[in-house]
Symmetry: C2
Subunit: 88 residues, 2 copies
């Protein structure tokens, strides 16, 4: 197994690991266990990774991190909506 | 801002974004909103990133992903414990 293949595999798995979280969060609307600061920091970090990928012109870094953003931004949205509803 | 600096910043923020999640999960023992499949897949992916870092001898990739493992393995442990307790 080449290092590159392992890198793509790692990227795929970490990127799509967010999908079951998005589906569960969307279906059950229970994000109480998810920490808002984690979600915000994680998305800031992933955004910086995407910009970094653009700067060094690395397609895998751009693609994997853009998909991660697409998966986790809705999760953040659901979390914010839950917290607003709790505050009434 | 150099690309390298941005990469380290992105790595730091995404790595340590897990800390507030670990603290919240540990204190409140409420991981109901966290999806077990996400946690398992995420840790598999991060483990592969760490091995990838070793293969290409990239210290930042090794360090950041090892710290991420140290943060998220206890969260997985808390989640498994919670699910076992629910099953009684």
């Amino acid at each position: 197994m080449s290092a590159d293949f392992l890198g793509y595999l790692a990227g795929m798995i970490t990127t799509f690991s967010g999908l079951p979280q998005l589906l569960t969060s969307y279906r059950r609307r229970n994000l109480s266990g998810l920490d808002l600061r984690f979600l915000v920091l994680f998305l800031v970090g992933i955004s910086l990774w995407t910009i970094y990928g653009i700067l060094i012109d690395s397609k895998p870094i751009i693609i994997f991190n853009s998909i991660t953003l697409l998966i986790w931004i809705p999760i953040l949205g659901l979390k914010i909506r839950e917290q607003r509803a709790e505050r009434g």
